[in-house]
């Protein structure tokens, strides 16, 4: 919403400065988005060309002697065809910034002749696109004075960023009312003229859609003379960026901005029969005033006559019945439309107009008829003519909402101590009715404030006018005790998993929750209910079933930029369905190239090797452990989901059913489909699948018994079938004597022809911790036998000879 300072002052009597007004508007909730104080135009002065001589060296240039009011004529070289002795125009002295050409003037020589300034065109001052010649002012323009203030171009333009709840502030008058209520001046409440008119309006209005049109006022003015509107009106419209058309149309635009009362004018001669408000027929078309043809549907509403659609009701008039210079008989429409329907129609047709802006917020119903009278008076004043009586149809009158309001509500919700009298005064100045004398009063809501419908709204009105900046902050209180842990288990897991992975040299990425359909399907997603109906881009259409495609793509983007060794992770949501419980909390990560935990790339002390399945496994376990999973009870199963390398991937399980994660290198087809290249490995662990630890009655850690006897290590090498999983061998060794064996470490795997095709050797180091005495050689032999026997029993392994 844009207006100028002088326009505002037409409704507001105030001595406040521009700055004060701007500040107050913002503090009233009418946030000032910009102020153009027109300072750029201040340096231009009215000047008169005394003489205009031909430039000695250029056919198209003239050398002017210009009187700028200083008494000393100034020499200016000028190329404008209309530069002539006696012309009065706008002069810019050296040092002036000329906005239209983005140049700060200096004294210069043009073809050898000094020029001390410039006579400007309208385009150079950014007043219009006119550039055929310099500005040519009337003879009475006072030489030596400010051009901008003489031409009334120095009127500051204020633009407010209006919230959707304030239809009343879509007009300058309503803005002035708010300012006056806040004490920044007095509202000039000039009476609205009442026009009686002669004879009935010959065109009748038929409302076939009363739920959409709760009122329609129409009046004919015969014998008007339409043409350009007066300079002041044109100036006003231009100042807020509207193009003057002709007096009748300009009046409707003026009323729209001045009174938040959009109007429409029909040329009677082009209207056939009565005006009917009805739903459009599917496929019906209308050529609107913007020159575009719109195809309507049954959910749009129109004003039609015998010729067909004349106007998209409340949004834009039709080209056919519009008013032009030949219009002599004009029908003025002042109607009410259902805001929601207007919003929906405007949106579906993609039309943004000043009328829609107001009707979708809600136009003051009580001003429908007065607005018509006020517009009629303007038509009579500017175009003369004879008015008919008003045809008013469908309007049931306004019954104000009455809200029972305890004044104490202000203090309860805001903490402000404002007296009942003060509250009453604020509300009254805003146009609310306040009835009753007690602590609880009946507040009736004025017709221009459809947004107010409860006690809280009234509190806001009082608070706005009182001044939000005057509210003293008060401590919240109720927080006298030390606050304990505030995160939920899943939040703690999320946070710990992130830090644990970052500590492993990985960088946390945040990638989009939506990926392409192809990627989603590749990773087991792509369900219909997880596809966006209106994605922002084709490759951001499906909610991700996994973090991996996003991370692999991110790694590839980095590789394409020359950073091929990257380790990335993300802890975030994946989506198995559209229900809340189907949003999983997953920690996932990838490593690419040689981005190992200890460092990447070449190094004098040893080059990093390509990443692989075991890097991913280590990451997965680190995340699980940080998230509190019982890592010593987890099992690894060979193989994982289809996107992994079937022989180099694993699934982490807790018991037979609970899957806590997957890890591995990727299937070559997966990488192909993602346009990615390796070496790449990755993992995902499902933080929400980790069972919650039982609440502990104490924080005391279990007792620690340290054996005083020296721990010893013994090495064994077993030959087993290649198919035997090493985990089962180490488990067999460890369980041979659970008391004495406290660790089993695999330190070598050997496969070779000497062992045969189907065999491998697994070398383990067993840590033995004697508990109650030093072990004898016999004890060790007995233990070794137990280990060898158990390994043989569990895995078929034999001690390597």
């Amino acid at each position: 919403m844009k207006f100028t300072l002088s326009w505002l002052k037409e409704h507001l009597d105030t001595d406040a400065s521009l700055e004060e007004i701007v500040e107050r508007l913002t503090m009233l909730g009418l946030e000032v988005e910009s102020v153009d104080d027109k300072a750029a135009l201040k340096p231009f002065v009215i000047a008169k060309i005394l003489t205009a001589e031909q430039h000695p060296d250029a056919d198209r240039l003239r050398v002017l002697s210009v009187d700028t009011g200083t008494g000393t004529p100034i020499q200016v070289v000028c190329g404008a065809p209309n530069a002539r002795a006696g012309l009065i125009g706008a002069f810019a002295a050296p040092g002036t910034y000329v906005p239209g050409i983005d140049v700060t003037l200096s004294v210069g020589k043009i073809r050898g002749v000094e020029s001390h300034g410039m006579m400007c065109s309208e385009r150079e001052l950014e007043l219009s696109d006119e550039h055929n010649g310099i500005i040519d002012l009337p003879e009475d323009a006072p030489v030596g004075t400010s051009f901008a203030s003489w031409a009334k171009l120095d009127d500051p333009v204020i633009e407010i960023n209006l919230t959707p709840n304030r239809p009343d502030a879509t007009g300058v008058y309503g803005i002035a009312r708010d300012l006056a209520a806040s004490g920044l001046g007095t509202l000039k409440d000039a009476p609205i003229p009442t026009i009686k008119g002669e004879g009935a309006c010959p065109t009748k209005v038929v409302i076939e859609a009363p739920e959409f049109c709760p009122g329609f006022a129409l009046r004919l003015v015969r014998g008007v003379k339409n043409g350009p509107s007066p300079k002041w009106l044109q100036q006003r419209l231009l100042s807020i960026g509207l193009r003057p058309i002709n007096a009748l149309v300009d009046i409707t635009n003026y009323m729209t901005f001045d009174r938040a009362r959009p109007l429409h004018v029909f040329d009677l001669k082009k209207v056939a029969g009565n005006l009917v408000v009805r739903a459009a027929k599917d496929g019906e078309t209308v050529l609107a005033l913007d020159g575009r043809e719109y195809t309507l549907s049954a959910s749009n509403y129109v004003i039609a006559d015998d010729n067909g659609v004349e106007s998209i009701a409340g949004i834009m008039g039709g080209e056919h019945s519009g008013c032009d210079e030949n219009t002599t008989d004009v029908l003025i429409e002042s109607a009410l439309w259902d805001p929601i329907t207007i919003a929906r129609t405007g949106r579906s047709l993609g039309i943004i107009t000043d009328a829609r802006y107001r009707f979708e917020r809600g136009v003051d119903p009580e001003f429908m008829a007065p607005g018509l009278d006020l517009a009629t008076q303007m038509v009579l004043d500017l175009c003369s003519g004879t008015p008919s009586e008003a045809e008013i149809v469908g309007y049931a009158g306004y019954t104000p909402k009455v809200i029972s309001f305890p004044f104490g509500e202000v203090k309860r919700l805001t903490g402000i101590d404002v007296s009942a009298d003060e509250s009453r005064a604020f509300l009254t100045r805003l146009g609310f009715g306040v009835e009753g004398d007690g602590d609880v009063v009946n507040v009736s809501v004025p017709s221009w404030r459809p947004d107010v419908d409860g006690k809280a709204d009234i509190v806001e009105e009082v608070m706005r006018i009182y001044g939000v900046d005057l509210i003293e902050p008060q401590p919240l209180g109720g927080n006298e005790a030390v606050n304990g842990r505030i995160l939920t288990p899943i939040q703690i897991r999320t946070r710990n998993a992130k830090r644990a992975l970052a500590v492993r040299g990985m960088m946390e990425a945040v990638t989009y929750s939506f990926i392409s359909a192809k990627q989603a399907e590749l990773f087991g997603g792509g369900q219909n209910e997880l596809k966006l109906a209106n994605p922002i881009a084709a490759d951001m259409s499906d909610m991700r079933p996994s973090l991996l495609p996003g991370l692999i793509s991110a790694a590839q983007r980095n590789a394409d930029r020359g950073f091929g060794d990257v380790a990335l992770f993300e802890v975030s949501g994946t989506y198995e369905g559209d229900k809340p419980e189907q949003q999983r909390r997953v920690a996932g990560g990838i490593r690419r190239g040689t981005a190992k935990i200890d460092g990447q790339g070449r190094h004098w002390a040893g080059n990093a090797q390509a990443v692989g399945v075991f890097d991913a496994k280590a990451d997965a376990f680190a995340a699980l452990e940080a998230a509190g999973a019982p890592v010593d009870r987890l099992q690894i199963e060979a193989g994982g989901p289809s996107w992994y390398h079937p022989g180099r991937s694993g699934t982490i399980k807790l018991g037979p059913k609970v899957i806590l994660g997957t890890f591995g290198e990727f299937h070559p087809k997966t990488l192909d489909a993602l346009d990615a290249s390796g070496p790449l490995c990755g993992f995902e662990v499902f933080l929400d699948a980790i069972p919650e630890a039982k609440a502990k009655p104490t924080r005391t850690k279990p007792r620690l018994d340290l054996s005083p006897f020296q721990a010893v290590k013994r090495d064994f090498a077993f030959v087993v079938d290649k198919s035997v999983e090493v985990a089962s061998l180490t488990k067999a060794a460890a369980s041979a004597d659970k008391k004495l064996v406290n660790a089993v470490r695999v330190f070598d795997i050997f496969e070779g022809a000497s062992l045969g095709e189907v065999k491998k050797s697994v070398a383990i180091e067993v840590s033995i911790q004697p508990i109650d005495r030093t072990l004898t050689d016999e004890d060790f032999e007995a233990l070794a036998k137990k280990i060898v026997d158990n390994v043989a029993k569990q895995t078929g392994g034999v001690l390597r000879g």
């Binding site: 919230t163 509190v459 401590p475 992130k498 500590v503 209910e529 980095n558």
Partner: protein
């Protein structure tokens, strides 16, 4: 020269000539061993006359002492030399680079770090952290939050919608974290003090808008929380978050469907230095958050009586306050995972934001 003198000289020469500990040992054995030259001399004392013994005894023993001393001193000399030689041989170029520790290379994304900072501050103020799903229903995202059907405010949200599911219901991606207000009220009786960080989505993309972004919502509900308390909470938060002693904030009336009264909040800052924003000084205002008293209809949708319970809520962009505090110029880069960006704007994993140690380094 006497015989003893000759012997002493020859032993001294041998000691001086010994180039390692083994050679010294050989000299020792040849002089002081069982059959060593000095040992033999000592043995010969027994066969001497008492007079001879009186003069030769001290002479031979003196020789023995001197030789032993010479042996010890030479031995330690040689050991030092050997150690020095070894140390020299073991010398390396200590300017050779070492690999960075993984904990120094890893990075926490600014969004996670800022969420931890927010949690630290609000934890101190007695709040808990709540969360909710990204895929929401129209009810939780709009209707329960008092967005009337067809209201322009609804259109302003640029919502992402899903295809209808099997039940014919059309879900959406939440456009704000506010649905969690309702979900919380449904599950928890007041007093409620929560902050809700999370992902939000709108169909919008430029330098300051991304189709996915992050918001943090706050909600306080009890029987007397008011605008004055809200001002205090938000001022305390901004001071703590931006790590300044004082911050000037401007609360101005605004409109949101789910609060009444509604306010927008600007924060005082100085933007006169290119690429840098300083808070707590300067003449500029920067919009930072929206807030207000929870709308009576929202309380009702949450199952609370607005005449008994009241409270306030606010929402702000996590990415936005991260950008303001740490100076990232473009929001889209947050989601690009460019390792150079993460390295530069990310945080070291062991830099944990706390109030006692400072939120940031």
């Amino acid at each position: 020269m006497s015989e003893l003198e000759q012997l002493e000289r020859s032993i001294s020469d041998a000691i001086a000539a010994a180039s390692d500990e083994a050679a010294i040992e050989a000299v020792r054995v040849s002089a002081l061993g069982k059959k060593g030259s000095i040992s033999e001399k000592l043995k010969s004392l027994g066969a001497m006359s008492p007079e001879e013994r009186q003069s030769m005894g001290p002479a031979i023993n003196g020789l023995k002492d001197r030789v032993m001393q010479a042996l010890t001193s030479r031995k330690s000399e040689l050991r030092d030399a050997a150690i020095n030689a070894r140390l020299k041989a073991e010398t390396v170029d200590v300017t050779l680079p070492v690999r960075d520790a993984p904990a120094e290379r890893g990075r926490i994304h600014p969004i996670s770090q800022v969420i931890d900072e927010i949690s630290a501050i609000f934890g101190d103020l007695g709040f808990s952290i709540a969360e909710g799903p990204d895929v929401e229903t129209d009810y939780y995202n709009f209707t329960a939050l008092n967005f009337p059907e067809g209201h322009p405010a609804r259109e302003m949200h640029d919502t992402f919608f899903f295809n209808p599911n099997e039940a014919g219901e059309r879900k959406l991606l939440r456009t704000h974290t506010s649905p969690v207000q309702i979900r919380t009220m449904e599950n928890q009786k007041p007093p409620i003090r929560i902050v809700i960080p999370g992902k939000t989505y709108r169909q919008d993309s430029d330098a300051t808008h991304s189709p996915m972004f992050h918001q943090v919502e706050g909600l306080v509900i009890d029987k007397n929380a008011n605008v004055a308390n809200m001002k205090w909470v938000l001022e305390e938060f901004c001071k703590a978050f931006f790590e300044v002693k004082q911050v000037k904030m401007r609360f101005r009336p605004s409109f949101f469907p789910f609060t009444e009264p509604s306010l927008e909040v600007d924060i005082q800052c100085d933007r006169s230095r290119p690429g840098e924003v300083r808070f707590g000084e300067g003449d500029d205002w920067m919009e930072i958050l929206g807030c207000g008293m929870v709308h009576p209809n929202v309380l009702r949708h949450g199952g609370l009586d607005p005449d008994e319970y009241q409270g306030f809520a606010w929402g702000m962009g996590i990415d936005r306050i991260a950008m303001l505090k740490y100076g990232m110029p473009d929001l889209r880069a947050f989601f690009d995972a460019d390792v150079r960006w993460l390295q530069h704007y990310g945080f070291r994993p062991l830099d944990l934001p706390t109030l006692f140690g400072g939120l940031s380094q």
